[in-house]
Symmetry: C2
Subunit: 137 residues, 2 copies
DNA sequence: GTGTTTGCAAAGTGTTTGCAATTTA
DNA sequence: TAAATTGCAAACACTTTGCAAACAC
């Protein structure tokens, strides 16, 4: 028989976010977090799951991505009207966007330097500053 | 009787872009360019047109926005997956995005200072660097 | 007249939702 | 068993497309 070993820290991450560690969420979390930084769309993650023989509906992939994002496990990136990317790297950093292929990639820390950030308009506060370097590739 | 005066420079802009100055294109160009910097979605421009008693179909608004963008008269901005904004200011500048209201606004020149821009990855060139300051307003 | 542009309605894409069936604790 | 989660299919919002009628030159 096959033993599937689920690292405790994944389960803990889910529980810590108030999310029951269901079969689907565990599987998606493994695809997302066990292999370095990723920038995935819902469709891409869904395809990865099916390829790995994990039966999940696309609706659940969307739900899960949003739940993970709300829990601070993912960050949603908008570079392309019409689709959302989810970044497993939630630390402060910026992106290259390859317009031709639609790939998104972290810019190594320190390679973008914002020396002046405007003050938030009256009555608002800054939630985030996104820098996207669009390249043709 | 009513005289409608169309400034020659608008016509010239259209012709210069290789676009026949049709009734619809002239009307949309006036809405876009005769009143300072704007950040509009297709729906918003369509509504503005109808309000101004200009009969244009939404499809034509989309076509026109893309033609103007291809001609360098507009710039398309992506801040919100699911809709595109078109900016009448095509010079080098950045944006505030009010997440609550969905409004987009230019950041005054000089209030964002990018001191380090990464070099483009091997085999690519940088097409644009976009800075979006997201505020809750 | 000839080629361009328009408007409509249909199709397309990515995403969300309602709800019954299933699963988790 | 009670509450949370899933999957499906339908609904959605925004955008694009195909094509006949209208328009610009």
């Amino acid at each position: 028989m096959t033993m599937t070993c689920v690292p405790g820290n994944l389960m803990d991450r889910l529980r810590g976010a108030g999310l029951r560690p269901t079969r689907q969420r565990i599987a998606l979390a493994r695809l997302l977090f066990e292999d370095g930084d990723r920038h995935l769309t819902a469709e891409q993650l869904h395809t990865m799951a099916l390829t790995a023989d994990i039966r999940v509906s696309l609706a659940t992939v969307y739900n899960t991505l949003h739940q993970f994002t709300d829990a601070g496990l993912l960050r949603e990136i908008v570079v392309d009207s019409g689709r959302s990317y989810f970044d497993t790297n939630t630390s402060d950093h910026h992106h290259f966007f390859y317009e031709r292929s639609g790939r998104l990639e972290d810019i190594p820390f320190g390679q973008v330097q914002l020396t002046a950030v405007p003050q938030a308009p009256e009555g608002t506060s800054i939630r985030r500053v996104d820098v996207v370097v669009r390249v043709d590739g």
